[in-house]
């Protein structure tokens, strides 16, 4: 990390000796101006950072939330109810293979360019992968565990809620952690194409103006945001599933 900072300083210093007005590798003072630009209110009395964070954050939150709920539910139903498994397994497996960024156009057509579009895109983008993860984790459970639950007086429903659910939960949280990366990719890509506010929109705009002193801090913030989300999920996993150890089968 430190090496990266020092390296950057050196590269940008060299660049500015050649061309003092360079903005592709901004110096730290230029960077400061960039940060000031998106923290201070602009002519419209709007702070970019606030506007963009709210827009992107809301899209991501609702998209992820919807995707997580539906992905888990569909996966559980596929794993526990045989007719649903037969019905959903082929289409879900196929959908999981469609590249979401390529499917962007489809979402624009169906959902326009508003909030719904972003939410639908993120949700549909992660549902197949999450559902398949849950489904496979259920199929992976030794049948002995389920049979034993019946001998202990469980109903079908209780086997699903008391055994399958608890066993699958940590693997599902792992899957959500993995899905956050792609979800952010879809979102930023969509914002770059059709957004009028948000991280993706800002980055594309400022990049066109070669205002890299805005672009770089935005990238760092995005990385930081993803990292924070991941950390929260890991924390949640440790809280909800203290028994879970990834190394042991």
């Amino acid at each position: 990390m430190l090496l990266l900072l020092v390296g950057y300083t050196w590269v940008s210093h060299r660049q500015h000796q050649v061309n003092p007005d360079d903005t592709t590798i901004p110096s730290w003072s230029q960077m400061y101006k960039g940060v000031e630009k998106f923290i201070q209110p602009d002519q419209k009395e709007e702070r970019w950072i606030v506007e963009d964070s709210i827009a992107t954050g809301r899209r991501l939150f609702f998209g992820l939330g919807l995707g997580v709920v539906f992905g888990f539910t569909i996966g559980m139903m596929m794993g526990c109810i045989t007719p649903i498994e037969a019905f959903l397994q082929p289409p879900i497996s196929l959908l999981a293979k469609v590249p979401q960024t390529a499917a962007l156009a489809v979402y624009f057509v169906f959902f326009g360019t508003g909030m719904e579009m972003y939410v639908a895109m993120i949700a549909f983008g992660i549902i197949p992968a999450l559902a398949v993860t849950v489904y496979l984790a259920i199929k992976d459970l030794p049948s002995e565990m389920l049979d034993k639950a019946y001998t202990l007086g469980a109903s079908h429903f209780e086997v699903a809620t008391e055994v399958v659910f608890k066993q699958v939960l940590p693997k599902f949280i792992d899957a959500v952690r993995l899905a956050i990366g792609p979800a952010i990719v879809f979102l930023i890509a969509a914002e770059m194409v059709v957004g009028d506010v948000g991280f993706g929109y800002r980055i594309r705009l400022q990049f066109k103006l070669t205002n890299m002193n805005v672009v770089y801090p935005y990238l760092v913030m995005l990385a930081f945001f993803g990292f924070a989300l991941d950390y929260c999920l890991r924390f949640l996993q440790a809280k909800l599933c203290p028994w879970y150890q990834r190394d042991s089968k």
């Binding site: 030794p142 049948s143 002995e144 049979d147 001998t151 007086g153 469980a154 608890k166």
Partner: protein, 308 residues
């Protein structure tokens, strides 16, 4: 079924036959287990002991014959796993996401409360949960795990895990408990401790019977160790495909059946048997059950007279 019969009833396998395609595994197997019996089931590897247990459990139904247990006070077919039969596996014996205490309390919870109750009657459930955990704690104390109640299975040794697994099944007091080589993966010393533990439960059976009550624990334990069978079981049952099936007019072996069924010596839990004394039992079983060269009438060593 009269009340007296109910009082003694454990399990009845009638004319059970099972095969997988061309592979004839079980043939015309009859086995009646009384409440309170500890049946040690032995037999050559691959003769179908696990298959029989799965049939009794109801996960792998026999092709022919019927298996009856007491379900809600009535004789019924064991055609799917149910609360009247308990199971202890060698692997997958515990739920990894529950502590020892909650593993043992799980059956009480599933059997005695409903999802609706747990989800919507929080205070009622909290009270029940405490009651179940207290009972589970007493039980864990009994199997010598008073100190380890809050450990997860991954934090316990194999021997501790099997103790918890046995407690988990026994606390339910089902009509019959099936144990498929429960100590197969344990070292000799741990095995012996666990045998002693099982014998403690056998003593509880005897106490209950002395008071005229139905004995709470009935079990079938599959083992490869003849000494273990002799020590833990009060009845030795040998399953084998080596019997004289030609006299019955079969062209090829129709499968394994019960070829040996005799009472076994009974020991106190604190008593270490002198295995030297049982050389003749072992010899007989080796000949009758394990030796492919010795083919006898299948009922020659089946002593169906009452064991007590």
């Amino acid at each position: 079924m009269t009340a007296v019969e109910q009082h003694n009833f454990g399990l009845h396998c009638r004319e059970v036959s099972h095969w997988f395609g061309d592979n004839k595994v079980l043939f015309d197997l009859n086995l009646k287990v009384d409440a309170g019996q500890f049946v040690a089931l032995v037999g050559p590897s691959g003769c179908g002991k696990s298959t029989l247990l799965r049939a009794i459990l109801g996960t792998d139904l026999p092709q022919e014959g019927e298996i009856l247990t007491l379900q809600n006070g009535r004789l019924a077919n064991a055609d799917r796993p149910g609360r009247d039969r308990g199971i202890v596996y060698q692997k997958y014996s515990l739920y990894p996401f529950l502590t020892a205490l909650d593993n043992v309390a799980l059956g009480l919870k599933l059997d005695q409360t409903t999802t609706m109750f747990r989800w919507f009657n929080w205070s009622g459930w909290a009270k029940k949960q405490k009651e179940f955990r207290d009972r589970a704690a007493v039980f864990l104390d009994k199997v010598g795990l008073g100190q380890a109640m809050h450990l997860y299975p991954s934090q316990m040794s194999g021997g501790m895990q099997q103790r918890v697994a046995i407690a988990q099944a026994l606390i339910m007091e089902p009509e019959i408990i099936l144990l498929d080589e429960p100590f197969g993966a344990l070292d000799e010393a741990t095995r012996e401790e666990l045998q002693e533990m099982l014998l403690q439960f056998y003593e509880e059976n005897k106490e209950a019977m002395a008071e005229g009550k139905k004995p709470p624990y009935t079990l079938i334990i599959v083992t490869h160790e003849l000494n273990e069978a002799i020590r833990v079981g009060d009845r030795l049952v040998g399953l084998s495909q080596y019997w004289d099936w030609k006299v019955d007019g079969h062209q090829r072996s129709p499968g394994a059946t019960v070829v040996y069924d005799k009472p076994a010596p009974v020991f106190r839990s604190d008593e270490r048997p002198d295995y030297e004394m049982f050389a003749d039992i072992r010899h007989e079983i080796r000949q009758v059950v394990y030796n492919p060269e010795v083919l006898q009438q299948r009922d020659e060593h089946v002593n169906l007279s009452p064991t007590r």
